[in-house]
Assembly symmetry: C2
Homo-oligomer: 735 residues x 2
């Protein structure tokens, strides 16, 4: 093993140490008054109760799948023997990341509210440092898992001077991504349903029917709403980005191993490069985190500037540092690979800016929705949908441009050098996520500030405190837009890298089959009898032999089913939110009716009951969409083989990506159109126009917080399942 | 030319003769009272004024494109010299079909209302016979255009014993589809924007603000609304299905020519088979039309039965007749080809039934939306979207199954015989559309009955008349669902057939290039120097040489852009409806404010002004989406070449198909959820639940009548543009 590799576990330990340091720092602060403590306690208990329940359900799935994988691997020799273990650790680490992030977030919100009683800067510091815990835990655990597996596998398959062993190592490590993806999907879907059931339910009865403000302690669903922010936006997002992060690094490592299959020294460098870039990014993220601060009375623009300063510094530094790193690594065509990395970063920034333009109340699109509110809710919905759909143009073009440019850079313009080109696309994804430590910190900061506001409202702190928490919260909405750009863009690029590395997994699967039967017959009739010949096959040959071209009906059917899966999954999650919200509405109405004195403040509502309803609904409703995401790729593989599977992934990726951007942006724009009116435009709060935008916002809730972000994971989970099942697919399929 | 070919022009003449006969028959009926005549006259004038304006704008486009095509063909020798003429006739015939259909429909509505004063059966007979005029004109003109071109081209390229000439004939004929598609897109988008601007505007101010009923003569936008039904649902749909019909026959003929490139006799049969099936379908449709009748006091179920009897009879007869036809033709593997045809018909029926299930108030999904109306408009929208998305599953699976089964049937199970398989997919599309004469009659019947109801309301005829027209109208909603199944399913299959025939166009383009330069270099580096070698290349070779596989970044970018195009186009048309409706709202409000006595019935509103606003908006707003649909495939072809173009088409087809099903079904379900409540459920008319569903219905208007149906054409127009530009793409492209 190369000495330089050790930088990776070191960076991981540094990240986790700083996370611990920040955690301790925040923990030392006071939680404020007794009532603040009590509310924080409620939220904490609700969130933890939810997470326990969630992990129980997920555990059952993991056990079942691990048994299946063990049978496939040990019973039928159709799978890599490491898969069951890799799968489990991926799920475990992802779960730990979500747990620690949420523990920090629920610990931090009352402390943020309490600090905001002193000053804006104090509030910002606590909220942001808590977000940083999340960011650093995710990247730290990601690299830890990667490091441990790399060490273990190198022990069993020494990769020095053995390029085939390195292929085995990288393709094996890739399978731990499936554990992370599966965990992430459950977290996102379950958390998303939980939070939006509570939010929609609280709004529909509390705000609209009873006419009490948001986060009012008289609303029985208000604690559930705050719990939801934590389980959906913190734990869900953490698990989501954990798998993006790990997935992009692992897929790129596998592509690097494939690109340099005939040069062991260069291969090792290509495999280590994405890990080292990530390790460097961790250190630079920590530097960025330290420079974020603000002063009292700072305007929102100044607050934003201070966060942006941190992110920008980290980004500029990673551009410089990775240049030096790749130069020192002396990897082949290093300037081109460095350019791919920079392209990836730029694509993330462009998508983030476009997201901001289409969803921020400072720009025309959102204002146009607010304008349409004057003719009622129908035109709010029509224009929000229309704008969301149009907003897909820039992200798609940015990703497309990113794909072709990073491909061409990495190949130094030689388009026929396909494996180098795909490696370049992977590097672009890694580049986009290299500063995840700090971008995720600004992202996780949002729900913490939101909860701090909730705590301030329920604890009836003074208006100047509420004003400060509002400033922090509204900032969170903008950073969330930027974060979403990275989440969506990286999902698309990572999914592409996964798709490419699927071919490498297939090779390993065919090798395994040839060990027993001595030959392999491709679907186009070509038969291979010598393992050495297999290694010589290029990507184009594979595509030709498996007939993965767009005139093959099997591929086309795969593409159709993939596109349909994106819509089906979205429809199921939308319906799930609708049903769960309905139950919440019934419960809140019941409490207002049966518990006398809630609305006068004389009796306390039964918060726990609402939390329990959201928990139960989320657990119930997350099962079907999640199982589908795992089962459909397996069934398509068994029936339509490799060609159909790749079709499925491309169809799911293209439709899912565009659909995810559309839903996130429509949802964001509706939310901010409402805020724009609440700020006093078009008649302000309470006007008919305001009511119309409240309806738009409610429709947008599952768009932007349940279905949209879950789609990112769906795309990658389907790829991961296909990769893990590759051994079965090459052995058994109808077509 | 084979003698049996003459059946095709004969069937065409029979169709047009019966259309003329039915037209005369309806025309003899009375238009009723003076006020009925006056209203009918208003609608007729508005519709014709719109169509004149529309055709003017379209003419400009056609002139520009014809000039461009002439330069490409004659100046640079990059295109088939017949393209400019074929393009023009396609546009012309499609325009005539729309014009005649609309002329009949606007002539028929008052007569239907007047007949409904006598009896339900009399009303049904007139409305349905007028719909039949439309159906027969579309199929008659379609086969006429095909016949004329076949005769002319056979004169210049005698195809007897010359398979290469037959290839030239069929690929040349295919290009007239682009004229039809372009005309259809303008008609659908322009008509769709017109009708929904008027509808939404009329509803928002009239129904919601002023509280007057639908079609009330005091509403200034009510004439525009009725005009809209004609220009959108009649002229737009006619042009739409004209191009589906012609496109499926022509693409299948081209695929047939390719499948039997080495057997001239069999090739002629394969080319003629789709035309002969269509010709047979015409005769059987006319028989079906004649048996549709009902009796006074018939329930809606009985009415539906009488229409279904006609369709079912035609369908059963075509199954039998085509068996006989293919048997007598002695075409190779005729039982398999016949099975492909039956599969196509079945897929259409399955999609129709699924559409009915998801959109009819008789079933759970629509009732669930009505149920959700009790918690307000937000939950109506969420559940409508969710249900629409879930409803895509059956159509996608039906089409997928249809693709693979028709492919396998036509190849007699030999999946490697790709050209026969693709021919089978084409035959399935032709089968699905073979009874278009009668299915389109039931479809065009809907807006006629709708307008008859409008006329009855405005003319203040008695409640029993209104009840009869309501029965006819509501039947139209169900038949529209079935019709949509065929429109969407055939669009998907036809687009696939077009995609496959693109390869044949490429061959012709490469032949042309080789005539001048003597060689052709494929993107994968393979060079060909002998035209004879080119003819020997199979589909798999082409896919390999052009690297149209799913690991090629150029293909993937094409797929991304294709998926994005479907969303962008939908977003643009949604926004267009929003803007146009906004102008209508302003105008109606202005008239209520400035023209005293409108609401008391003392003054007549300025109907013409509203018609003019819808006309102007529609013309203005249809330009950008339509130009995009033409320009994007050209630009993608120039940059990303053949591989990128095929990626674009597959991405557009998969996303566009699923999106179209989703939008049509959500829109239909919202509409019927409203009707369900109006029928007295969940509080009935005027309740809060009713208001919530009115909002859902308004959102659904552009879904089901503008964006959804336009997507079908977008998919095919993009394919047609790519096909027509194939000569340019093989000669010039960046990648």
């Amino acid at each position: 093993m190369s000495n330089i590799f050790w930088l990776v576990p070191i960076a991981s330990v540094i990240a986790l140490s700083f996370a611990w340091y920040f955690y301790r720092q925040v923990r030392r602060e006071s939680e404020g008054t007794d009532i603040m403590k009590k509310i924080a306690q409620y939220v904490r208990e609700g969130a933890m109760a939810y997470l326990r329940q969630q992990y129980k359900v997920v555990l059952v799935f993991f056990i079942i799948l691990t048994v299946v994988f063990s049978i496939l691997a040990y019973g039928f020799n159709l799978q890599n023997p490491w898969v069951p273990f890799a799968f489990l650790t991926g799920g475990l680490f992802s779960g730990i990341a979500g747990y620690l992030g949420m523990k920090t977030a629920t610990m931090a919100s009352a402390r943020t509210a309490n600090a905001a009683r002193k000053s804006l800067d104090a509030g910002l510091r606590i909220a942001f440092r808590s977000g940083a815990v999340m960011g650093l835990v995710v990247v730290g655990l990601g690299l830890l898992d990667i490091s441990v597996w790399y060490i273990v596998l190198n022990y069993f398959y020494p990769s020095a001077n053995d390029t085939h062993n390195m292929m085995i190592i990288t393709t094996t490590m890739l399978t731990f991504g499936m554990g992370a993806s599966a965990q992430a999907l459950f977290a996102r879907v379950g958390g998303g349903i939980f939070t939006k059931a509570a939010d929609v339910g609280a709004d529909l009865v509390g705000k609209v029917e009873a006419g009490i403000p948001e986060d009012d302690p008289r609303n029985p669903a208000t604690i559930a709403d705050n719990v939801g922010d934590n389980v959906g936006d913190v734990a869900g997002m953490g698990a989501d980005l954990y798998e993006s992060y790990a997935g992009s690094i692992l897929a790129t490592a596998a592509l690097g191993a494939a690109a340099f299959i005939d040069n062991s020294a260069m291969q090792t460098k290509a495999v280590l490069a994405p890990m080292l870039i990530a390790a460097t990014g961790i250190i630079l993220s920590i530097i960025g985190i330290f420079i974020v601060k603000t002063k009292e009375g700072a305007s929102q623009r100044e607050l934003m500037k201070s966060l942006e300063r941190g992110i920008n510094l980290s980004s500029v530094l990673i551009v410089i540092a990775s240049f030096a790193l790749l130069y020192m690594l002396e990897i082949q065509n290093w300037p081109g690979i460095w350019a791919s990395l920079v392209i990836g970063l730029l694509v993330g920034i462009v998508i983030g800016k476009a997201t901001e333009y289409f969803t921020s109340e400072a720009y025309a699109p959102t204002q146009k929705i607010a304008q349409n509110a004057e003719t009622g809710p129908a035109t709010v919905i029509i224009s929000g949908l229309g704008i969301g759909m149009v907003s897909t143009v820039i992200p798609v073009l940015a990703v497309s441009l990113g794909i072709i440019l990073s491909y061409l850079s990495a190949t130094a313009g030689d388009i026929s050098n396909m494996s180098m080109g795909l490696y370049g696309i992977g590097i672009a994804a890694v580049g986009m996520l290299s500063t995840l430590g700090i971008t995720l910190a600004t992202d996780a900061y949002g729900p913490i500030a939101d909860n701090a506001g909730g705590n301030a409202e329920m604890s009836e702190l003074g208006p100047e405190v509420r004003k400060r928490t509002d400033a922090l919260d509204s900032l969170g909405n903008t950073t969330a837009a930027t974060g979403k750009g990275f989440a969506i863009g990286s999902a698309a690029l990572t999914a592409l890298a996964l798709l490419a590395s699927y071919i490498e997994e297939l090779k390993i699967g065919i090798h395994r089959l040839m060990e027993t039967s001595g030959k392999y017959l491709f679907p186009n009739g070509f038969q291979i009898t010598d393992s050495a010949d297999l290694n010589k096959l290029g990507l184009n040959d594979f595509m030709n032999y498996f007939q993965v071209h767009l005139m093959n009906p099997v591929v086309l059917i795969g593409v159709f089913i993939g596109a349909m899966m994106a819509f089906l999954f979205t429809g199921l999650t939308m319906n799930a939110v609708g049903r769960a919200a309905g139950k919440m509405v019934d419960e809140v109405r019941r409490q207002f009716r049966e518990i006398k004195g809630i609305l006068t403040g004389e009796a306390e509502p039964d918060y726990a009951r609402c939390v329990a309803i959201s928990t139960k609904s989320a657990q119930l409703e997350m099962v079907v969409p999640s199982i589908l995401a795992i089962l459909v790729p397996i069934v398509v593989g068994l029936i339509f083989g490799v060609a159909g599977s790749i079709g499925l992934l491309v169809g799911g990726l293209s439709s899912g990506f565009v659909l995810a951007v559309f839903m996130s942006n429509s949802g964001g724009a509706w939310d901010n159109a409402k805020k724009y009116i609440e700020a006093g435009h078009k008649g302000g709060k309470g006007s008919d126009a305001h009511k119309a935008t409240v309806i738009g916002d409610t429709v947008g809730d599952p768009f932007k917080d349940t279905s949209g972000p879950s789609l990112n994971i769906l795309i990658k989970l389907m790829s991961m399942v296909t990769i893990v099942m590759s051994g079965v697919t090459v052995a058994i399929s109808l077509f």
